[in-house]
């Protein structure tokens, strides 16, 4: 279980002085949840993820994982970044094995897990390939295998599919949900793409910027079981509704509600939100 307790984090920038990325932010993620943190740039979602990962320390408050304070990054929380960050001097299999060597797992165990997780991400044929030979989607698959190989309880993912083409993104989303259902890991997934968040998460937390705070916390799994798809009516509806909520409160920032990979123009409110019996209504969201 991940607990974020009244966390504050400030950053110093040469252009803007000190800005508070997070202030009095609290959040709890239960084991086995797939939580998507969505919001415009500057809403603190990446900062929040970095705090849970241990890559940053909070200025106020605390972050607890399984009751223990997070002080540093570690293999119990696997992380994926937008850039695969694979090491070019190692082969694919060696990359997957990197963390396992840190844990000093015996060779046989390393090989077995490398094979298992490369199979899981459908990259088994590429064990001896070099990183520069792989496409973006392939690299992210390997990055996923690398994170999974340490068998962490928690996976933290910072827009891992953001740089991929729609087809790869779609395939990887489906595979991620599949892996989640098989392994019951706790996943915290950061994205600016509302449709992606609604498609993936059992729970979607919409964050608002300036000041950073939780705008909506939606239990998607309750109403809409997996498998979902970005083009599915309920998904589109809910994503649009959530995005509208954000827009209504004055957010003009880069939120992508229709999944086209671009910031949406401030569109006129669609009619779907107010009708009785719409999916968004059932989740208790009203304009």
């Amino acid at each position: 279980m991940i607990e974020v307790r009244r966390v504050g984090k400030r950053f110093q920038s040469t252009t803007r002085g000190v800005t508070a990325a997070l202030r009095e932010m609290s959040l709890t993620v239960d084991d086995g949840e797939f939580v998507c943190l969505v919001g415009p740039s500057g809403c603190g979602k990446t900062t929040l993820l970095n705090l849970i990962a241990g890559l940053e320390r909070p200025d106020e408050g605390e972050v607890l994982v399984h009751g223990k304070r997070v002080r540093a990054p570690g293999p119990d929380r696997g992380v994926m970044f937008q850039d695969a960050a694979l090491f070019p001097w190692l082969s694919v299999a060696e990359n997957v094995a990197f963390g396992m060597k840190e844990l000093r797992l015996p060779r046989k165990e390393r090989q077995a897990r490398a094979k298992k997780y490369l199979d899981l991400v459908k990259m088994s044929g590429f064990a001896r390939a070099w990183v520069h030979e792989l496409s973006g989607g392939m690299r992210q698959r390997v990055a996923l295998a690398r994170a999974l190989a340490l068998e962490p309880d928690i996976l933290l993912m910072d827009e891992p599919f953001g740089a991929l083409d729609p087809k790869s993104r779609d395939a990887l989303q489906a595979e991620l949900v599949d892996i989640w259902e098989k392994t019951h890991k706790t996943i915290v997934f950061v994205t600016h793409d509302m449709a992606e968040a609604v498609r993936l998460g059992s729970r979607v937390i919409v964050l608002r910027a300036r000041p950073a705070r939780v705008a909506r916390d939606v239990d998607v799994a309750a109403e809409l079981p997996q498998p979902r798809h970005v083009d599915q009516q309920e998904v589109v509806e809910l994503a649009a509704q959530l995005k509208r909520d954000l827009d209504e409160t004055g957010e003009h920032e880069a939120v992508d509600g229709d999944g086209d990979g671009q910031r949406d123009e401030r569109a006129a409110a669609a009619s779907g939100g107010g009708g009785a019996g719409s999916f968004a209504d059932r989740l208790g969201l009203h304009l």
Binding site: W89, G99, L103, E133
Partner: protein
């Protein structure tokens, strides 16, 4: 003016037969390898330190850049004053001539290592020394190899310059001897040997390393370094 190839080859044969060439090559190579090894170790260490410690960079950085611009042979008078007419003096010239170019290349390469690699490694449990040996140094390797190649060239040149001026064995001395005897063929034959040794070792030492860099990083990175 110029001796024909025949004359050069004959002269080569003479020096080979009476063992003079072998001795000279042995002396020169010994100085080169020892000097270069010291250069590489000190150079890489200093380069990594400069890259990771900004206070050191501020204190020593400009000095490094300035001294690197000094032609290596200018170190000889200082070396002779400090160490007298000894092997240490020649080694000093070789080290000072090559170390700083290795340092500068290493510093650049280490600073260019993407912070993302370090973050990724930390999330997998890498810390402190292992971060350096398993991530930072391997990531910086292409740039470091470039520096080492450059350092090798400088080391060879520093050595020859030193041996030419400070006559005490080695190929440089053979060259000087040839000049003093007015023996053009001998001079040219020694030059040929110097070129062959220089190129040959460069290929030997760096050929396979560069091949592996190209193989793993791909051509783009290999070219960039």
């Amino acid at each position: 003016m110029l001796p024909g190839p025949g004359g050069v080859v004959r002269s080569l044969g003479h020096t080979l037969r009476d063992g003079e060439l072998a001795r000279a090559v042995g002396t020169s190579l010994y100085r080169l390898f020892v000097g270069y090894a010291m250069s590489a170790c000190a150079g890489i260490t200093l380069g990594v330190a400069l890259a990771r410690m900004s206070w050191l960079r501020a204190a020593v950085g400009p000095l490094v850049v300035g001294l690197q611009a000094l032609p290596s042979i200018c170190w000889l008078p200082l070396a002779l004053l400090w160490f007298g007419l000894s092997e240490k003096a020649i080694l000093f010239v070789v080290v000072m001539g090559s170390m700083l170019s290795i340092t500068i290349a290493t510093e650049g390469a280490v600073r260019a290592v993407p912070t993302l690699y370090i973050r990724a490694a930390r999330t997998m449990g890498s810390r402190r020394l292992r971060l350096y040996t398993r991530v930072i140094l391997p990531a910086a390797l292409p740039g470091i190899v470039t520096g080492l190649k450059l350092g090798w060239t400088f080391a060879w040149r520093s050595l020859m310059a030193g041996e030419l001026l400070y006559v005490a064995g080695g190929l440089g001395q053979l060259l000087t001897l040839g000049r003093e005897l007015g023996d053009m063929a001998r001079v040219m034959s020694v030059m040929v040997v110097i070129v062959i040794l220089g190129l040959g070792f460069e290929r030997l030492l760096f050929g396979s390393v560069e091949k592996r860099v190209r193989e793993r990083w791909g051509y783009a990175q290999a070219e960039a370094s």
